[in-house]
Amino acid sequence: MLPGSANPGAPAPATPRNLPQRGGEPNPSAAAIAAKFGKSFVRSEVIWGDTNVYIQASAVSEIIRWLHDDATQQYDYLSDVTAVEFRDAEQPLEVVWHLRSLPFRRFLRVKVSLDKRAPLAVDSVWPIYKSANWLERECFDMFGITFTGHPDLRRILMWESYREGYPLRKDFPLRGRFSRAEQLRQALSITTEGRYSMEELSVAQAFEDLPEDMRRRLAGGERTGE
């Protein structure tokens, strides 16, 4: 018996072989979502043995909250939040959540289609999974999707004063929008201490424990980045 399993009698997991591209045994969570959230459920499909569930953007936090909390689902691990933009300009942009249920040994891919003509916004799942914090920041940085309810939605890979747009969008030129010299000029004008100062590293909470001279220098506004 595998410890921690929600299904003690289940056989030990084995790597599936010869999976069809489409079709096959769906994840039972897909049918459960369709039954419980009929209005918000769009469709589901099985691709290479993995189940994709398409849902309405308005129901994201409700359905993912249920997948996380419900005793029959127990999706306790969010492994990725990302997005897909297709080459055809009229096709909607998709936001993808990769959910994993460790007790049931299930994998579920939840997708939402966002119309590109409207502002790209979807609910944050940060209140449910804390790991969504940086994943959603990365998705915002690369695709420009706003995750409403995110506690600190700012760029994570590119620097914060980056002004050229969202690099993984299809309308973004591979080499960026500005000339090389302008890109370099903007990059060199970043003040590294501005971001990575002692204050930024939450020394403020331990301020009283610091030596007296360091407290005096920090209180005087001195940067101690180097």
Partner: protein, 207 residues
Amino acid sequence: MGLSHTTPTSAMFGAPHQESWVTTKLDFLVNWSRAKSLWPMPFGTACCAIEFMATAATRFDLARFGMERMSFSPRQADVLICAGRVPFKLAPVLRRIWQQMPQPKWAISMGACASSGGMFDNYAVVQGIDTIIPVDVYVPGCPPRPEGLLYGIMMLQEKVMREKMSDNTIRNEMEPDPESGLYIPASRIDELSEPFGNSIQQTRSGL
């Protein structure tokens, strides 16, 4: 004492058990002592740094050239070895490290990415670190083998050996343009980073 000896070897080193002395040019002596004890500052960002580590390890043994002491503080370093691609986000960091190094200092650009951006001709990667800091030796390769880096280091040593104390202009710190922060004009940076045979509007989807 020394002048009484006639053969060159004994003039150089003196006779055994006697006081020894040497005559040479001051330039040669200073350059020799600098070139044979360059302390590298490793700035490794990618797979080139793995080759750099191999160069420093036992089989290729960078210590043979007086470099066994890696200087992880730029303030004690002589030569900056930039091994790997440099994204734009790292450009001010590399510039800052270079400015923290005291004169005399040299820079080696190791590998295709550091020298030209390499295969990463995209929005995120600096197209050659010579747009950020002045570079003395470029080592080609993707990544260069340790022999390649050693050859680059030996070329740098040759360059150091040719310096003259009478010419102190090479010791002048390059000051970037206060307006743009660049060493070289913007038009030349654009020209240098132009792709070969491609237009600047090139994208895969034609959008």
